[in-house]
């Protein structure tokens, strides 16, 4: 039952129309004026490239082993899973002994944990962080929310299928999965990587158009370049 009488209230421009991203005219110190286009001038516009394994197999296997044994997680929490991950650092679970560490910056991390439901707003940040990580990189979805929406199945603001938007390597089911399940999940992820299956970044680059279309279909105020370097 839509209310026909409702007229939308005025909103500030969003997306690429927002004030900060509009072209602005700037006066240089010498008095010349010129135009600055924030998106074009301040951000790299290039699309991501797929990086093929260019090494001979044994080297690639060695590297994959290294990658598997040195999983650096981006310390980024969404939803309730953020709480479940913390115990992994404590003496009780001690994920370090499996080569798992937390890094505070996506530049240095390899593993993005989506630890629960993703609202549209958070999805934007998750995509940005993912794109700022370096290839090869892995995504793990935690809990039923990332798998099929879970209890947020009819929410107006929560995505229900993470792999539509990011190349997920592994889901760990549960609501929420306990730390033990996480450890087991990491072991599975390691197996995938060692087997050469951790090519999510390449998949993302190869299907870039598809992922972007999906992302943009839910993120109405797309206000960043297509790929966040």
């Amino acid at each position: 039952m839509k209310d026909e009488k409702y007229t939308p209230l005025p909103r500030r421009p969003i997306g690429l129309d927002r004030e900060e991203l509009k072209k602005r005219t700037v006066t240089a110190p010498d008095g010349q004026t010129f135009e600055v286009d924030p998106i074009r001038d301040y951000y790299c516009q290039d699309a991501p490239k797929a990086h093929q394994r260019s090494y001979i197999k044994i080297v690639e296997d060695f590297f994959n082993w290294c990658r598997a044994e040195s999983l650096w997680i981006l310390g980024y929490g969404t939803g309730c899973g953020a709480i479940e991950m913390r115990p992994l650092m404590t003496p009780r679970f001690d994920a370090y002994r499996y080569g798992i560490q937390w890094r505070p910056t996506p530049r240095q991390a390899n593993l993005l944990m989506i630890s629960g439901y993703l609202s549209v707003k958070t999805l934007k940040r998750a995509i940005r962080s993912y794109e700022q990580m370096q290839n090869p990189k892995y995504v793990v979805g935690l809990g039923s929310c990332t798998i099929n929406g879970g209890m947020y199945w009819d929410s107006y603001n929560t995505i229900k299928k993470l792999d539509e938007y990011l190349p997920v390597d592994l889901y760990i089911a549960g609501c929420m999965p306990r730390p033990e399940a996480l450890l087991a999940g990491f072991e599975d992820l390691k197996k995938i990587i060692k087997a050469g299956g951790g090519e999510g970044a390449n998949k993302y680059a190869e299907n870039f158009e598809w992922y972007k279309a999906n992302q943009k279909s839910v993120i109405k105020d797309w206000d960043m370049p297509d790929y966040n370097w």
Binding site: R24, A28, D41, Y42, W229
Partner: protein, 1041 residues
């Protein structure tokens, strides 16, 4: 030879003749007046010429044909002739200047003018005290008449006050005359000298006579009337009142004093000094140009009176000294009053209008320099001689007071000059009456001529014949040429001078010579960037270089001091050119002049007499005076190196200067102070004062400068200020090295001299170029310029690596020598400060490069280009030199090492092969370079192999906690960059020194503000001042005798 009496005859006759003319025939009357004045001037000048050349002898003119005392006699000697020339020429020029006013008032005013000049001449000529009274009264009456020439209605009140006071004075004078006559039985001055005053009453009579004459000199505080006249009278007349009347009155006082014997001289000295100091202090608070000039006049006459008070010790130099000061004062003050006449408004800032007429600015500067006694004007020679005489006779206190007064005077005069040059000028150029302007130029030329004569008479070299100075002054003449042509000439002049003189240099002079001349020429390359005519840049710049050139070759203390003052003045004008540099240039000048006066005192103490002193003879100074000489000279030199405590001028002066001036005043000028310190330590060595080793004190000063200079540098937001504070620190290092008094310490100081010249010039040029492009000096407004200005970035990078002493560049050499030097130094505590300051330097250097070139590029800078070619060119030369010097430091230091070895036998360096070896360690620049270069290249290749396909991203492609920046301004972390450091060590930055000097200047200003309330403006109060002055002085004099 026409008898001098015709001066009086012509004046009087013409005045009477004017009375016969028709009132409407004004042109004729004016012509007659001018003719009469011209004749009077001609007579005076011809006498002067004849007496000076020895063609004539001093002559007595017996007016009634009988010998005195039975008739009045006049006398023309050298002094009289000179003063007559001043008076009559002032009259002549003023009459020309007053033409409009005189024509308007008619022949009566012309007659009064003639009477005035005649009366003043009479005062000089006569030897009879009652005749003196008559001429004085004539002067009073004619002054009363001429005051009315003014357009200013207030002049009438001032004139009346004047008359009131002169009534009192004439009562004193008459009573004094009659009792003197009673006691002496004669009115002739020459008779007094013959028989000393015996009777008790005679003392009082002479006192009254003397007081009356002294009161005519407008002594403080009995001079309110005179100031009112100065303020309100027509400037053409004020010129006469200041230059001619003052001159005549001084001479009258001198004549009478000469007969009174030595016991009256202290009184004259006291009055003179008191007036000189007090009037100068009072002038600080003036904002009316003519009243300020009035105070200055009063002060100058007081100075002359003080000099007269020293006539017992000055001997045959008395005329030279007193005359020098008097003539400089007369010419300058007349000129300044004349200039004030072409300026319509009376506040000091109204003088900005002069800027529309540059020759007038030159004249203004000339007059100011003459007043303060800067080279090459007569006052300079007089000051030098006076100082030496005073010191020779132990009257150091008098000298110190004179110098303090002169410093204050320089303060307000140059503050005024700064206002005139820097405040906003009106756009429309006013129409100057050509006659008036010509008169002003004539005065300026006369000033230069007087300078030349005094130079010729001096027992030293005539400064105006010194080649560098002549070249610099020559730039005044070619000021009309385009800047680039002048720049070529300037570079050529520096190179030619170096080429002509380097043959005679020892290695020390060689290093400084190369920095001053060749270094100066390299900096001049940056000046090619300026187009147009660039008025007012080359004369001061070349004046500074002339001073530097003269400084290196100076062998006597006089030559050294003259060069020092020349370079001070040149650099002052140069610094003053900066946009907001007005207060900083002034404080620079004040510290420099204060330092120069300390040097003067030091040299005078060292000479101990009037004989010329060779710099090398400083080594022979011994005894109790030696440490004081050392202290004074060191203070003088440290004002230039901006040692802590004397540093507050430097940041502003260097920061506000133009892009190519900053390296001149920082890279080059600071080294003059170090050169002085070198000479001082080389000749005088260790001195002890109160049992303290003075070099130890220097060690502390150097260390403190290094620490605090560096510390202050890290908190600057302004890039050039940062560099300026860093200069304080760097000079502190050099001073520290020198004060260690060992071989390696000196070598390190020299290394710093070379390095500091190169990297500070380099950095100032780069920062200046960047500031030119970005339009700001605030570093936090810049950022991310590396991609747009890569060459400037490279220059700054090389500069800061060198400066911070990181291997492999040459700064490391300095540090290495430093470590070796301190191994044998005795004092260890100050070293702690130096150790502390080393890493701090790293902080501000990093800040410099980071906030300007790294971080986020701002919107408005996105399309900047690299600095202009001509500013980059010298930078690239410096970069090349630094790289070369890093590998082969021996090319400069080897010879110097040997040279220093003559002074310190121990501890040389061994320069064999590629390795430099000391007693303690070793250092191999080439090998370091190779090793570091190889490692770097290999690692770089490794990274390239791994990473050659890197994606180049733009400035907002940063991880931002999953957010994104919107504006570069809010993303560039730059402002208050070292906040934690401020929290930890900010307490060291309390501006104690600034507060100290601020308190002194405030106290002076408050004193002036308080004291000038004496001058209530009421004529009766002024008369009371006069009476009280006489009574108090009588009591004081009684106390003295």
């Amino acid at each position: 030879m026409v008898s001098a009496i015709f001066i009086i005859v012509v004046g009087l006759g013409a005045a009477f003749a004017l009375g016969l003319l028709k009132d409407s025939w004004r042109n004729g009357a004016f012509a007659l007046t001018m003719a009469a004045l011209a004749v009077m001037s001609w007579i005076s000048i011809s006498w002067l010429g004849a007496l000076a050349s020895g063609a004539a002898q001093p002559t007595d003119i017996l007016t009634a044909g009988v010998q005195p005392p039975f008739a009045i006699n006049l006398r023309v000697g050298l002094a009289e002739a000179g003063l007559l020339s001043v008076i009559t020429l002032t009259g002549l020029l003023s009459a020309l200047y007053l033409r409009d006013a005189l024509m308007q008032q008619g022949r009566r005013s012309m007659a009064v003018l003639l009477i005035a000049i005649m009366a003043l001449s009479g005062i000089v000529l006569t030897r009879d005290i009652f005749n003196l009274f008559v001429f004085f009264e004539l002067m009073v009456i004619s002054t009363g008449g001429l005051v009315l020439l003014s357009d200013d209605e207030r002049a009438i009140g001032a004139g009346f006050k004047y008359l009131v006071v002169t009534q009192v004075i004439s009562i004193l004078l008459l009573v004094g005359i009659i009792f003197t006559y009673h006691a002496q039985g004669s009115l002739n001055i020459d008779d007094f000298a013959a028989q000393p005053l015996a009777a008790k009453g005679a003392g009082l009579a002479f006192f009254l006579l003397l007081m009356a004459l002294v009161l005519e000199l407008k002594p403080f505080p009995a001079n309110g009337w005179a100031l009112d006249i100065y303020e309100s009278a027509h400037p053409g007349f004020s010129a006469i009142f200041s230059a001619a009347s003052g001159t005549a009155a001084v001479y009258a006082a001198d004549k009478v004093l000469a007969t009174g014997g030595a016991e009256w001289l202290p009184l004259a000295t006291f009055i003179g000094l008191f007036t000189f100091l007090a009037s100068n202090i009072l002038a600080l608070r003036q904002d009316n140009d003519r009243r300020l000039l009035g105070y200055s006049s009063v002060a100058q006459i007081g100075l002359v009176l003080a000099v007269i008070g020293q006539r017992d010790i000055l001997g045959d130099q008395f005329l030279y000294i007193a005359g020098g000061i008097l003539i400089a004062h007369a010419v300058a003050k007349a000129g300044l009053f004349w200039i004030s006449g072409v300026i319509t408004r009376r506040e000091l800032t109204a003088w900005t209008v002069l800027r529309l007429n540059p020759p007038l600015v030159v004249a203004f500067a000339t007059f100011l320099a003459m007043l303060i006694g800067l080279p090459p004007f007569p006052g300079f020679y007089a000051k030098w001689e006076l100082a030496h005489h005073l010191v020779a006779e132990g009257r150091v206190a008098v000298l110190v007071l004179i110098l303090i007064g002169a410093l204050i005077e320089a303060g307000y005069l140059f503050r005024w000059f700064g206002l005139a040059i820097k405040r906003e000028a009106p756009v429309a150029r006013p129409k100057y009456a050509p006659g008036k302007v010509l008169v002003i130029y004539a005065a300026a030329l006369l000033g230069w001529y007087a300078g030349y004569r005094w130079g010729a008479l001096s027992q030293y070299d005539n400064l105006l014949q010194a080649m560098p100075l002549m070249v610099a002054l020559g730039f005044l003449l070619i000021e009309g040429l385009p800047a680039r042509i002048k720049n070529v000439i300037a570079i050529a002049a520096l190179c030619v001078w170096f080429w002509l003189s380097y043959g005679s240099f020892d290695p020390l002079q060689m290093i400084f010579g190369v920095i001053f001349m060749i270094g100066g020429a390299v900096i001049f390359l940056a000046s090619f960037h300026e187009t147009g005519r660039r008025l007012g840049f080359y004369p001061p710049a070349m004046l500074m270089y002339a001073g530097l050139a003269m400084l290196i070759v100076a062998e006597s203390s006089f030559a050294f001091f003259a060069a020092w003052e020349v370079l001070t003045i040149g650099s002052y004008f140069l610094i003053l050119r900066g946009k907001k540099s007005e207060p900083h240039a002034l404080s620079y000048l004040m510290f420099s002049l204060g330092g120069a006066f300390a040097i003067l005192l030091g040299f005078a103490l060292a000479a101990g007499g009037t004989a010329p002193l060779a710099i090398a003879d400083l080594a022979q100074v011994t005894g109790a005076v030696a440490p004081w000489v050392f202290v004074l000279l060191a203070i003088g030199f440290m004002t230039k190196t901006a040692a802590i405590g004397l540093h507050i001028w430097l940041p502003g002066a260097h920061a506000e200067a133009e892009a190519d001036v900053s390296p001149m005043v920082s890279g080059v000028l600071l080294k003059a102070g170090l050169y002085g310190m070198f000479l001082l330590l080389m000749t005088m060595g260790r001195q002890h004062l109160f049992g303290v080793d003075l070099t130890y004190v220097l060690l502390w000063i150097g260390a403190l400068s290094a620490l605090l200079g560096n510390l202050m540098a890290i908190f600057q937001e302004d890039a050039k200020r940062l560099l300026a504070y860093s200069s304080i620190g760097q000079m502190g290092y050099a001073l520290f090295g020198l004060a260690m008094m060992n071989h390696l310490g000196w070598l390190m100081a020299l290394m710093f001299v070379i390095n500091h010249y190169v990297y500070k010039s380099l950095l100032f040029l780069s920062v200046g170029g960047v500031a030119k492009r970005t339009g700001t000096r605030d570093m936090y407004r810049m950022g991310g310029l590396i991609k747009l200005m890569p060459l400037s970035f490279i220059a700054v990078l090389i500069g800061i690596i060198t400066m911070s002493g990181v291997p492999p560049l040459s700064g490391f050499g300095g540090r290495w020598i430093f470590y070796n030097a301190i191994m044998t130094a005795d004092a260890r505590l100050p070293m702690v400060l130096v150790f502390l300051s080393g890493p701090i330097a790293f902080l501000y250097l990093f800040r410099l490069i980071h906030t300007i070139f790294l971080g986020q590029l701002k919107d408005e800078h996105r399309q900047l280009k690299d600095a202009p070619f001509w500013i980059l060119l010298p930078q690239m030369i410096y970069v090349a030199f630094l790289l070369g010097f890093a590998v082969l430091p021996g090319m400069a230091l080897r010879r110097v090492d040997a040279y220093i070895g003559e002074h310190f036998t121990e501890q040389g360096l061994s320069w064999e092969g590629l390795t430099i070896t000391s007693e303690f360690g070793y250092w191999s620049p080439v090998q370091i370079m190779i090793v570091i270069g190889t490692i770097f290249t290999l690692l770089f290749l490794l990274l390239l192999a791994l990473n050659h396909k890197a994606q180049w991203v733009k400035q907002f492609n940063i991880v931002y906690a999953a957010e994104r920046p919107f504006r570069p301004e809010t993303t560039h972390f730059a402002w208050n960059f070292f906040a934690p450091y401020r929290r930890a060590l900010g307490f060291l930055l309390a501006p104690l020194v600034t507060r100290f000097w601020g308190a002194i200047t405030n106290a002076l200003h408050e004193t002036a503000e308080f004291t000038r309330k004496l001058y209530t403006g009421n004529g009766q109060t002024y008369a009371v001042h006069v009476l009280v002055f006489v009574v108090v002085l009588y009591l004081v004099a009684g106390g003295i005798s």
